[in-house]
């Protein structure tokens, strides 16, 4: 799996390249628009991680050019600009996902995986893990064969975990998916929903299913 990282900040670029390599991705790191264009001309990539502020021009402009010339690799935008405008503009210009800085590596990995998956495999309609059975068509959940009644929010939450089981899911990734807002609200809304979901599922399964990674997020083990 080949990933192209376009990031002008040296320390961040190095870190990402190293971290992605550790996760067995082949990561290439370039720092300018020109280097990016050269790298892309040389070899195709599976995912491109694009920083918006580049020394020789705007990342959004680069994206517009790519999409204009029929280039359709999935692009994940990284931006220090917090603004919603950039997010909307980026997605309008054909970016596939958007991640504001500061971001969590787990979240970047989760998003990269999801971009790769979107390309390769068809969606499952039945998810099963650790005795939990989630039917995406019927919107039903069973634990060890017993049906569990979940609210719509709890169901949406469980679905995200089932699709990424075994992985640490950062809080912002979850809130972004459920409330369409990555703005970290000063509430413990997610924790409250997690404890309700835990109570319902672990009560039946009789063993801990979720692990809290403090300061980062949650993990379905």
């Amino acid at each position: 799996m080949k990933i192209l990282i376009i990031e002008d900040e040296r320390r961040l670029g190095e870190f990402l390249q190293k971290a992605l390599s550790e996760c067995r991705y082949t990561a290439t790191w370039v720092r300018t628009r020109k280097e990016a264009a050269d790298a892309l001309a040389e070899t195709p990539y599976d995912v491109i991680v694009l920083d918006l502020s580049l020394p020789d021009g705007d990342g959004l402009e680069l994206l517009r050019q790519w999409r204009g010339s029929g280039f359709n690799e999935p692009v994940l935008i990284l931006s220090a600009r917090d603004s919603l405008e950039d997010r909307v503009k980026g997605l309008d210009l054909g970016a596939d996902d958007y991640l504001p800085k500061p971001f969590s590596l787990e979240e970047l990995l989760a998003r990269v995986r999801s971009l790769v998956r979107r390309q390769s495999t068809a969606k499952h309609t039945l998810l099963e893990h650790a005795g939990i059975r989630l039917d995406l068509l019927g919107h039903t959940v069973q634990v060890n064969g017993k049906p569990v009644d979940l609210t719509s929010r709890e169901y949406a939450l469980l679905e995200i975990f089932m699709q990424n089981h075994g992985r640490i899911l950062p809080r912002t990734l979850i809130t972004d998916k459920i409330w369409a807002s990555s703005y970290d609200v000063d509430t413990n809304l997610l924790d409250v929903y997690m404890s309700r979901l835990r109570a319902k599922l672990e009560g039946i399964s009789g063993r801990p299913l979720f692990k809290t990674v403090r300061g980062v997020g949650y993990q379905l083990v």
């Binding site: 900040e9 320390r11 961040l12 870190f15 971290a19 502020s53 220090a80 600009r81 917090d82 603004s83 919603l84 405008e85 909307v88 800085k101 500061p102 971001f103 969590s104 590596l105 787990e106 609210t151 929010r153 640490i168 409330w179 369409a180 807002s181 703005y183 970290d184 609200v185 000063d186 509430t187 413990n188 809304l189 409250v192 929903y193 404890s195 309700r196 990674v213 403090r214 300061g215 980062v216």
Partner: protein, 475 residues
């Protein structure tokens, strides 16, 4: 008077009319004195004529003879002259017929004077001596007065015409002079944060107005550059702050995920991560406020019924309230559409709810009431906490002003309500704080103008089902 043009025109008209009036008054005085001087000359001429008629031998003549001689001439000119001849200390010798037995009064020490004689009117008198006689010869002033009255009439008409004409000319002139000012006003009116690069056209002539236009343009230049600076600062600040923040977070998280840390170190790293999240939130909030202040923030307002937004919010709010042992009630009445950006309104409601939860005692009730009627969407979030004093209430929407929390464990950034205020104002609405329903607690109310409201008939205005904190529906 509202317009400078009108004011200047009136001033100009008054000044011109006043100047003309002064000229007329001077003319009046001059003309009058000339005419009276004419009468004096006439009186003198009359006297010379009488003198001629009396002849050189008048001293030898008897009184009746003198009277006869004078009467011959005075009767001939009786419409013109009044004549009174007398000897000082002795008495009258002659009075012209038109005096009808009256005296011409004497003003001692004056040779030419004006007197009023009853039944005859004003007379201009010349008192002359023909030893041993004193001759008073008088001419009626009436024709002079008539001329002067006509003069006054003509002057008044002319002054009126002058007033009207000068005001009209003044209006025209000020219009012409103020036209560049009007252009400036219209341009300045158009210049807002979204078209700060527009400039006032500077007239080619170098005059005060051109100077003013230049000065205003310089001011707009400075304004534009500081505005651009604010925008750039926002972008730079986020860039400069967030890269180190990203690196700290990435490294801290890596330590945590890689494992192998002693429990104490693990705890320290977790605290770091939480504080990074907090720092990031504060940066985001400050940047949001600075952009809102600079009017550099554009909301994506879409017409929608706030009911759906509130319903989704109430679902989360009930869960949050229950977790903190509070009761939550929610009510929404009315239908219509409001221009909103759901993401930001949700943020406002969530901020208000968080404050209410932290202010509430255990078992306290938090209510959200929303009414959409009379072209206005009103949402009130109310708690049963300690409330805030009226003096504090004034300040709670300011930055870094924290609400008292009974638990003392909760320390918000102090920016939540300031952000709520900004967001509500960006929606064209306002936010206010009052005491709760029975004098307890705090009630924050938001008012946002609706695009349209459907006025429900009275009997249909039944509250929508209340969602109780347990999430069950109460009917």
């Amino acid at each position: 008077m509202k317009s400078i043009g009108t004011r200047v025109a009136v001033w100009y008209g008054s000044a011109a009319t006043l100047t003309l009036a002064c000229l007329f008054v001077a003319g009046y005085l001059l003309l009058e004195s000339q005419l009276i001087h004419g009468l004096d000359l006439l009186n003198e001429a009359g006297f010379r004529q009488i003198e001629a008629y009396l002849g050189a031998d008048y001293r030898t003549l008897s009184t009746p003879a003198i009277e006869k001689r004078i009467r011959e001439i005075t009767d001939y000119a009786s419409t013109l002259f009044y004549v009174d001849v007398h000897v000082p200390g002795v008495g009258p010798i002659f009075r012209s017929t038109n005096l009808v037995g009256r005296d011409i009064p004497d003003v001692p020490g004056e040779r030419n004077f004006t007197v009023e004689v009853s039944g005859i009117g004003e007379l201009r008198v010349a008192e002359l001596h023909k030893m041993p006689f004193e001759v008073s010869i008088a001419t009626p002033l009436r024709p002079v007065r008539d001329v002067m009255a006509k003069y006054v009439k003509v002057c008044l008409i002319l002054l009126g015409a002058m007033m009207i004409a000068s005001v009209m000319i003044g209006l025209g002139l000020t219009r012409l002079v103020l036209w560049p000012v009007r252009v400036m006003r219209d341009t300045a009116n158009r210049i807002r944060s979204d078209n700060l690069s527009e400039r006032i056209p500077v007239p080619e002539v170098r005059d005060e107005i051109a100077d003013l236009a230049r000065l205003l343009n310089q001011m707009f230049d400075r304004l534009e550059s500081s505005f651009v600076q604010i925008r750039r600062f926002t972008a730079d600040a986020s860039h400069e702050l967030k890269i180190p923040l990203s690196l700290i977070r990435l490294h801290a998280e890596k330590m945590l995920v890689d494992g192998g840390l002693a429990p104490a170190h693990r705890e320290a790293v977790q605290v770091q991560l939480e504080e990074i999240a907090r720092l990031n939130r504060i940066i985001d909030e400050l940047l949001f406020l600075s952009r809102a202040d600079a009017k550099a923030l554009k909301l994506d307002l879409k017409a929608q019924d706030p009911g759906a937004l509130l319903q989704a919010f109430a679902q989360d709010a009930a869960v949050l309230a229950e977790d903190r042992g509070c009761r939550f009630t929610y009510e929404h009445r009315g239908e219509g559409s409001v221009a909103l950006e759901a993401k930001w309104m949700r943020q406002v409601l969530l901020n208000l709810l968080t404050n209410a939860i932290h202010a509430s005692p255990a078992g306290g009730r938090i209510s959200v009431r929303s009414v959409l009627s009379d072209g206005l969407w009103r949402v009130a979030v109310e708690d049963e906490g300690r409330g805030v004093t009226p003096a504090e209430r004034e300040r709670i929407f300011e930055r870094f002003v924290r609400l008292p929390s009974p638990s003392h464990e909760y320390q918000g950034s102090g920016l939540g309500l300031a952000i709520c205020k900004s967001i509500v104002e960006l929606h064209g609405g306002r936010i206010s704080a009052t005491a709760g329903a029975n004098g307890r607690g705090l009630r924050i109310e938001i008012e946002i103008p609706a695009l349209s409201t459907v006025e429900a008939p009275e009997e249909a205005a039944v509250p929508k089902p209340l969602i109780h904190s347990s999430g069950e529906l109460l009917h």
